[in-house]
Symmetry: D2
Subunit: 306 residues, 4 copies
């Protein structure tokens, strides 16, 4: 069992770059496992640390429970063993999250990414969230990564909860998509003694996150420009900051376009341009309009990517 490493006092090394993979659908909005497989074979050629399956960009809230587990299973079967499968197992209730975590571990997830529950956001304070993540980590067969993504959830995992949870032997890190670099630096600083790993949740601040001590990134843009993000990571790790900066600058606008500005439908459109299967989204997500597609193209082309 993977958690044996844990017993030995060593945490799973999660440093590196991960694309939070998009989920391809057919025109009738059914899962398209064939296209998924083709994407996976291309991703296997890129020096990613692993893949995030069912992150926000995977449209996981639009999948059934069965589909969520099935996608993780297929990814694990397809992907070389040396790549990590980090599976998004978060649900609104603690009990559902515990069960989903077990199921995903059961089909081969190496580590789970657990988003903050958010529907009752007014009540999701440190106490509630610490309780939630502790319950999940206590029962999880695999290591847990905390996931804070305020743009979608409307709440941030409080820093005091991060610090407390970082002490849990089965919680190995935090993916922070909020982009508050001061907070990311503080999370690293406050958990230094704990072998706790912080991942940037977006390509827009990947270099800056490395500069304050993050060890990797889960970046939507890695679905499209995966090699470039691995190169950026490489430059940061090597301390070649000048070159890293030049590359980082050119990634900001494409990244904003496929995330904050135009979202998953734009990410999927850009994937098509770069040789991957993107396709349409499940409703209520709508395809981007013609003028949005032009704007998207401009954000890539003006930075030399198209």
């Amino acid at each position: 069992k993977r958690t044996a490493s844990q017993a030995a006092g060593q945490r799973l090394d999660i440093s590196g770059i991960y694309p939070p993979i998009a989920t391809p659908f057919t025109e009738k909005e059914e899962l398209d496992y064939h296209k998924l497989e083709e994407n996976l074979q291309k991703y296997a050629q890129i020096p990613f640390k692993g893949l995030v399956v069912q992150g926000s960009n995977g449209e996981y809230p639009y999948l059934t429970e069965e589909e969520r587990v099935e996608v993780v299973s297929r990814v694990r079967l397809s992907l070389p063993r040396d790549k990590l499968v980090m599976a998004g197992s978060g649900c609104e209730s603690t009990r559902a999250t515990v069960q989903m975590t077990e199921r995903m571990a059961g089909v081969g997830a190496d580590v789970v990414l657990v988003v903050t529950p958010c529907f009752y956001k007014g009540k999701m304070d440190s106490r509630a969230l610490t309780h939630h993540f502790t319950q999940v980590a206590d029962s999880s067969p695999v290591p847990v990564v905390l996931y804070s993504v305020p743009a979608n959830t409307g709440l941030e995992l409080p820093m005091d909860a991060v610090c407390r949870l970082a002490q849990h032997p089965n919680i190995v890190g935090l993916k922070d998509s909020g982009g508050d670099i001061t907070r990311i630096g503080l999370a690293v600083h406050k958990t230094r003694a704990l072998d706790f790993q912080v991942l940037a949740g977006s390509a827009g601040f990947l270099l800056a996150a490395y500069s304050v001590g993050a060890v990797g990134g889960v970046c939507a843009l890695a679905n499209v420009l995966g090699r470039q993000l691995c190169e950026l990571q490489h430059l940061c790790v090597e301390g070649r900051w000048e070159e890293a900066r030049e590359l980082q600058w050119r990634l900001i606008e494409p990244n904003a376009a496929v995330t904050r500005k135009l979202g998953v439908p734009a990410l999927k459109q850009a994937m098509e341009w770069f040789g991957f299967h993107g396709g349409s989204c499940r409703s209520p997500l709508q395809p981007i309009t013609e003028s949005e597609a032009q704007q998207l193209r401009r954000d890539f082309s003006s930075n030399g990517w198209l």
Copy 2:
């Protein structure tokens, strides 16, 4: 079938007061149908127009799909036929909402309450939401009520979408929990020609909503002070505004306590004080603390309810 009335060009009359009923759990967080049944028998004695099952206060995001349907089924079987069962059938994806709507109608829901999807809130614009609600209403066997609750979802159903959707023959109204009374007045004004019905989503602005043309309310506080809210409705409908105002004033603080300030756990605690079964919530919702309980009690007692 009720929708026959629709064919005849008449919309279902949804005017009146509804408690969005809380869902009782056992200590092990299992559904407690026995306690639910006892609550229902008490609610049947109060002149409610009906019950909302799986509104925000019903912890529906914490129930499995099976549980969501089963609770609706039990409520319909228990409740007298002259009371409406308004069932919350909203899910994140359009396809899941369509299916859940059909299942809930299948077990006897008279009308469904469909919340705005919200996970990809940056993309949930008028276009996406109009498409979503149109798809759901097209296929729903029962009338649909739109549901905007920004405190939980982080987004408001845009007014232009409300106006367009109000023209759909199977969309009969809007539950607005945002509390922006100007917006509620405008929604009534812009849909006057359409026999579209607006319900206040909270007891704090019930009188004010009536004053600008709303026809009822779905009020968490009705789980606790149901008769008083029906009395407030009665006074408003009769035009006895002076008396209505006196009553409204005394309901603001208790209502805030069980909603915005302390949430569902406080609602359930207050239910216990007033002879109903509240009990605990599912995790990650936590019980209120001792000091919160004192504050809660004060908000009721200082207004003469305890």
Copy 3:
């Protein structure tokens, strides 16, 4: 001196409708006292309770101290004695507000309207604001009205501060422009024993505010449709709610257009259409565009006002 009434334990009656008058400028952005005078003569014919001078719509942050005082002086000289002059004397610092209040009272202001300071909004808690308003009210020669306008200031005067300040003998009321009707009802309820008067800060929720106990309104739209707002007030006071509602509905969109949506430049444009002098704003406020002007016109014409 008016405050003699105060010594007698009676507070100044501020109930009724007030336009927060716009400040006319010449093309070179100089104050145009001639146009101001002409507006005042027209306003004197409308059954307003008085005028608010240097409310948010008066562009007071763009006037020098001298100009602020001079405008109040001119208005007082021009306006019949039976109309109140409510002068906006708020500044960022307490000492400046104290001085401005004295100067405005010195040139004839009957009552002052004091906005919450807001630059250090993170520090403007109940403690700081209670201290500020108490200092101002202690030294003010005329009664003080509290002013909460979150759209401009980014903060709301906390309810506990309102309740505490309502006990001050020289604080007679609150103008609340936030539009949270639950809060307005609560402010009335919590200060009932104190002869404290709440004014609605916008025409969009005037009827609703009356329905929960407000006694008047300071409404930007009264610069344009002053008679109609006085008529709405009359209907509310008389308890003719059906008629009031019909009128209220037709005022929502014009009001939103000249406030939240298009702001002071639109208010001034609409004034021109209705026979008043509006003119341009001081920079950085820009004139509305052609397409905004069309939208503005539509918001008036579709409701039967143009």
Copy 4:
């Protein structure tokens, strides 16, 4: 005159660290020029690029116009000529800002820092702000630095306005206090061809800002730990990122304490502990409480500064 350099096509070099100096008051809230002078003599010993006078931390909204100019004058007279005086000349109206800019330049300011006007925040779009800053820069005798500080103003200078304004020959840079590192990187990237200089507006993200191309910082914390911030700058400029990171980490919590968490009163308290004159603030700013002082001390001591 310094702007001669401008005619020669070279912009003023503003790279480096600046404390936005606090303004000392007597117990009666009068300006205390003696204490100011003593602080200045100490600051002159630290390798700052210069001082910001009347930044947000200088309580400038609480000073009269005369006081604002007088403080700038005194600072210029006291400070060695090789240190820049960057004076905050922003007012709400364009005309007042133009005048204040001239006056401050007249008493020796080397460069002015102009905050976004913010009272009518709903109308302060790119068009209005571009117009405002262009007017100011056109008439300013000294170079202009744009200043975006959303925590106080409630608005951010839009990126398209930054890019357009960066082309103005008399606008040399941007101080960005929002802390959105992606935006800071983008501002550098989009203005690279223009010799436009970006300064971090807070010590919490100083290293990260350097990592993406900023050239300095205006940091409240430099009033207290000025040498350390100059050391951090030195490490960044030298590319000694490992050491820089260690130092950056220890500055995050003290910085947060004197800015976002506890504000100017805490900054002034901390100044006292470190041998400077802080003293009290003008009302309505209140002194920190005893428990806040303990928290403040902890944020310094737990990072090894006290």
